[in-house]
Amino acid sequence: MPMAGPRSETDCRTDTVRFVLDGEIIELENADPTRTVLQFLREDLRRTGTKEGCAEGDCGACTIVLAELNRERDDLTLRAINSCIQFLPTLDGKELITVESLNRPGNDLHPVQKAMVDCDGSQCGFCTPGFVMSLFVLYKTNAEPTRIEIDDALAGNLCRCTGYRPIIAAARAMYAEQPDADDWLRQASGTAKKPDARLQQLKSISHDAGLAIEHKGRRFLAPASSDELAEALAKHADATLLAGGTDVGLWVTKQHRDLETVVYTGRVDALTKLEVDATHIDIGAAVTLTDAMAIIVTHYPELDELFKRFGSPPIRNAATLGGNIANGSPIGDSMPALMVAGTTLVLRSLRGTREVALDDFYIDYEVKDLKPGEFIERIRMPLPKQGTVLRSHKLSKRFDQDISAVCTAYYLELDGDSVTSFRMACGGLAATIKRATHCEAVIEGAVWSAETISLAAVALAKDFAPITDMRASAAYRLRGVQNLLRRFYLEISGELEQTVYTYGRQG
């Protein structure tokens, strides 16, 4: 094993997590590495407004908001997060805003809360604090949301009582009043002043060093650089690499696993950078899906629908693109599109860096071309070439926040009628995300026609032998992917302009 550098592990690092809550700086020395923010709120602080509905980030009853320092804009970025699967040490340097943060003495409701009351947006009330927090982010970030934007903002919040109509009404009504000019929390998007005091406070606790926390024999390491991350992984062979925690969180809340060493990527400088160079979108592995998708969609607007249907805002705000790729689930929705686009991964370890094509990264179920001590540092997605097409389709029981039964992506280059290049990758059909090589062979070089597609659809049966599970039967998965290929053909030929997802939803 390579020797660690001259610095000891605790050099420049702190064992104290600092974050802001209601204007107070909370300092937690050697906090439990895998205690969730929800447990901390409900059990330690007895702030019980935030609820547990599922403990897996799928219902939104536990939604809280994190305000983070955005140094470029010298402003705050507000993000809704599922507190049930967010580990406490990841709050370091941030402001935590819970439903109680909005409360004022007496009946002085926040405009979001008031709109929810006025519109009959609550019945049993259990999901309500979570909705209030998601609406709060919408209120602070969008001055006039469309129905689609409201749907998207609330996609991570389940309500079983109201049927959502009154909550959507509240999302429209909440801007009606602009009370209390001095209270930043109550200033809607477009009217908000710069939160100088908040920024100042966050700056006072922000630092570029890492975290090194020890708690009853378990540790949480948050390195600040790729070098330190490589060292940490080399030193702790059994470490659990934590990015957004939308999967690892469930190991703790559902499987009750004790994680000895957690190494967090979220503070690593190189992993949190997002750049576009002459040829590629270069995305640090710890960049959130929200941020990564925003930049990808500006170059690949056809991926907008897929990304809207990927998880939910709280999930996308926590989860990272690198985490989705490294996790390597056969039903990960980002990879088919990245794969057909020709994306490469920059892998890093103490031995240095190497670059592999995403195509070659997945070997078998949960087996990746990732050596011990190695991690994904950056994801390099080529910028689109003129005249090429990249699309992705997803099939699931529910449009929003569902896991795919089938997810497909296609890359197409045409020269007149003939196909000069065609790539297709699919999720949900095999042990890994996988290219449809038989299908590609039929289409590449052939005439772009319905006949070619029919032959290619037959070839898909050679590419995939899917399984039956709770999401779909094997037969449906295969039929689904064949029909999605047909849909792609009809879309390209202009015969099918809309998906059911967008149908009738303009405005």
Binding site: D120, F126, Y164, F399, Y503, G507
Partner: protein, 769 residues
């Protein structure tokens, strides 16, 4: 006589669209649910050890490692139960902890009590349980073959269905599969049991039926009911899922509390909740229908086989209600209904909004739709052709004469309001040129019977205290699960006393204040508790009136209660002032009210009588678009007209209609329960079980409460029950999808429910035919 004092109150609060009584607390996160209550200092947290097998003999249960685990204080098995090992509400056939045999994957075998929730849940995994597997029956239809039933099969027959079927010009038969549904209340099951002195036990339970929790806990810990108090201020949703099922959770918490002598809280994790507790029954349904050229049904034969799971639970009355509602709004002259209550090695199914009614309606609506498609008629025409008449063709298959039929009027109105005919035409034009996307439309009616079918359950109590300062404490036997019962009852009491609802404290449901209350179920909450509370308030008003007449020497007729004041002749004093004077005069300021629903009677032996006090009606038109390549669909527009009688609170009722409808749409579209071959439920969390989200709400959603619709029966302010009936409006979405598929060259689509993309694609491609 004052119990039946005639109400002369005016409607001030009643009929107002007041917000939910706790709305201001919900939005602030300050409404306390059981897990939010302050915890007793010695509280232990309980977790449940569940069976991994669907059917097996328990060879050995070794909890040594569980007991040795960090933080664990004690474990509990069947032998530790001091009283009766039963949590079956009607039939004593369901154990709290399994004894020798486990009958479903997820059945409770033991409990562990530990210092923290994490300690308890981690320890559960350390149990060593040896099973000797037995043959499991996992499908209802297999249960029918093997005659595996939780209760005897039941039959209703009227006329001569065999002859009618044989003589009908047309005949159709079909087998339907209809999925179940998880209640998916956002607050999972929870109970906290706190030992009190002298053998008492205080149980906080998230339950629709505190009385049943009280009694089942009493039996389990072998104490009389007087020693047990069950309290529930509010639930985070219930939908029937906390009618009988809450008792299991409460009994476990109680038994562990008694064994350890410490307060115990059991909060089920979402996955455990979904695995361990019952759901809406899934069904296999056969129908055989004969009809004439106009689409009128000549005779019909239904076979219903429902998945009841391992025990009777509420399956008896649920399946009875299926038999009572397989007519929906249609007159079935010659009819045979056979109902099997199948015992399967799956969790015992239970109440869910509609209580078997939706499944019955699903069957008849499918048959009606098939008749129309066979005759190439608009299904709406066939529906009308078969509607119950007014003054003729108006007796149900269980011999109740329908006296309040307004379905034809509602449907006529909706047809016009929703522009049904033109839109249906436009849809067909669209479909003629749209290759892949097909649209569909359907209008379906709802007629739903209101009352518990078990007559004795139709009783309610209330207890009202007026304090010396004129503020009022309201208790009744109903529970608040989000449906707005508490505000509705408060509105009634406010008007009875001429005070504002703000002067009334809505107390938690509490068995020590109102005893022997029925479950808040069968949509009956405001009907029954509203009446009981009104009676209690009227007694107090009566006493105050008598006192005021005496005290001020005026005629009783000159005394009027309104706007927090009492008008005595020409002078006025505040309600509080009168109350204080009355107290000085030693007038009782506390009263109970008791109500029993009139007119109903029902003989379960013959399945005949008047089980329902009245019916609630409604209708919906839904339009959808279907992708015939993938089977995905989207609901584009929905129009609803629903009958709430003279609404006690239109805002609350609107919430019930909209929310019930969307919940029903989930049942018939995206919500799929899926068991693997070992009988394990694999859809046990929101990651795998998909209830509707915000974007599933149609962009064009027009809901109207029927106006001038006073209940013909003497219900509370002539309102109608609204909890369950709107759920069944969702059938319009299912049949709109069917309509779209029919337009894709599949004239008689074989669409199974739920209409997931997969089910729709199978129907489009004719794979099941």
């Amino acid at each position: 006589m004052d119990a039946r004092a005639k109400s002369t109150t005016r409607r001030v609060a009643v009929g107002q669209a007041l917000p939910h009584d706790s709305a201001h607390l919900h939005v602030c996160g300050t409404a306390a649910y059981i897990d939010d209550l302050p915890e007793p200092r010695d509280l232990l947290h309980v977790a449940v050890g569940m069976s991994a097998k669907a059917h097996a003999r328990l060879v050995n249960v070794d909890l040594g490692d569980v007991l040795a685990a960090s933080g664990v204080v004690d474990t509990c098995i069947a032998a530790d139960i001091p009283g009766v090992n039963n949590c079956g509400p009607i039939v004593a056939d369901e154990s709290i902890f399994a004894v020798d045999t486990v009958e479903y994957a997820g059945q409770a075998i033991f409990a562990v009590a530990a210092e923290t929730v994490d300690d308890a849940r981690k320890a559960v995994k350390l149990a060593h349980i040896e099973y000797a597997e037995l043959t499991a029956i996992l499908e209802p239809i297999l249960a029918v073959e093997k005659k595996s039933f939780v209760l005897p099969s039941e039959t209703i027959e009227r006329g001569d269905p065999k002859k009618a079927l044989a003589g009908a010009p047309h005949r159709l038969q079909r087998r339907l599969t209809l999925g179940g549904q998880d209640q998916f209340y956002l607050e999972g099951h929870i109970a906290m049991a706190i030992p009190e002195d002298d053998g008492g036990l205080l149980v906080y339970s998230s339950t629709q039926h505190p009385d049943e929790v009280q009694h089942l806990v009493a039996y389990a810990i072998d104490r009389p009911a007087k020693d047990i108090v069950c309290i529930c201020r509010r639930m985070g949703g219930a939908f029937g899922g906390k009618e009988s099922q809450a008792a299991t959770i409460a009994c476990i918490a109680a038994v562990v509390a008694v064994k350890t002598g410490r307060a115990c809280k059991l909060r089920l994790d979402r996955d455990v909740d979904m695995i361990m507790t019952g759901k809406r029954h899934d069904f296999v349904i056969d129908y055989d229908v004969g009809f004439d050229d106009t689409g009128r049904i000549q005779g019909i034969d239904f076979m219903f086989a429902s998945r009841c799971g391992i025990s009777a639970d509420l399956s008896g009355p649920i399946n009875d209600r299926t038999m009572f509602h397989c007519d929906n709004a249609y007159y079935l002259e010659d009819v045979h209904i056979l109902s099997h209550r199948c015992k399967t090695n799956t969790v015992s199914n239970t109440a869910f909004r509609g209580f078997g009614g939706p499944q019955g309606m699903f069957a008849i609506e499918y048959a009606i739709d098939d008749i129309a498609r066979t005759l190439d008629m608009d299904p709406l025409e066939v529906r009308r052709r078969n509607f119950y008449g007014v003054g003729e063709r108006d007796v149900t298959q269980y011999e109740q004469k329908i006296e309040d039929n307004i379905i034809a009027d509602i449907v006529d109105k909706l047809e016009v309001d929703a522009d049904y005919i033109e839109r249906r035409k436009a849809i067909r034009e669209f479909n003629a040129t749209s290759l892949i996307l097909k649209r569909g439309i359907a209008l379906t009616p709802v007629k739903f019977g209101i009352s518990f079918t078990a007559t004795h359950l139709n009783q309610a109590g209330a207890l009202i205290h007026v304090y010396k300062d004129g503020s009022v404490h309201l208790n009744h036997g109903g529970t608040e699960m989000g449906q707005g019962l508490f505000i509705k009852v408060a509105q009634v009491v406010a008007d009875e006393l001429g005070i504002g609802v703000d002067n009334i404290r809505l107390n938690a449901s509490d068995t020590s204040r109102v005893p022997n209350a029925s479950a808040t179920a069968a949509s009956s909450g405001s009907d029954m508790n509203g009446k009981a509370a009104q009676i209690a308030a009227a007694k107090i008003r009566r006493r105050l009136t008598e006192f005021a007449a005496r005290h001020f020497a005026v005629a009783e007729g000159a005394i009027d209660f309104r706007s927090n004041a009492v008008h005595v002749g020409d002078s006025t004093l505040s309600f509080a002032e009168l109350v204080r004077l009355a107290w000085f005069d030693r007038v009782s300021l506390s009263a109970i009210g008791f109500y029993k629903t009139p007119k109903i009677h029902y003989d379960r032996e013959t399945f005949s009588g008047r089980p329902f006090f009245y019916f609630a009606y409604g209708a919906a038109v839904s339009e959808v678009v279907v992708d015939t390549l993938t089977g995905e669909h989207r609901v584009i527009r929905v129009d609803i007209v629903h009958d709430c009688g003279d609404s006690l609170n239109p805002a609350v009722d609107m919430g019930q209609v909209e929310g019930g409808f969307i919940q029903g749409v989930g049942w018939l579209t995206s919500e799929e329960l899926w068991w693997n071959e070992a009988g394990e439920l694999k859809t046990h969390a929101p990651s795998t079980y998909k209830i509707p989200t915000c974007s599933d709400l149609p962009t064009d959603f027009r809901v109207e409460l029927l106006e001038n619709a006073a209940n013909r029966e003497d219900t509370i302010y002539r309102s109608k029950a609204v909890g369950e009936p709107p759920l069944m409006l969702c059938l319009s979405v299912f049949h709109a999808i069917r309509d779209a598929i029919a337009c894709a060259d599949r004239p008689l689509p074989d669409l199974q429910a739920p209409a997931t993309p997969e089910a729709v694609l199978r129907a489009v491609e004719g794979l099941d035919s």
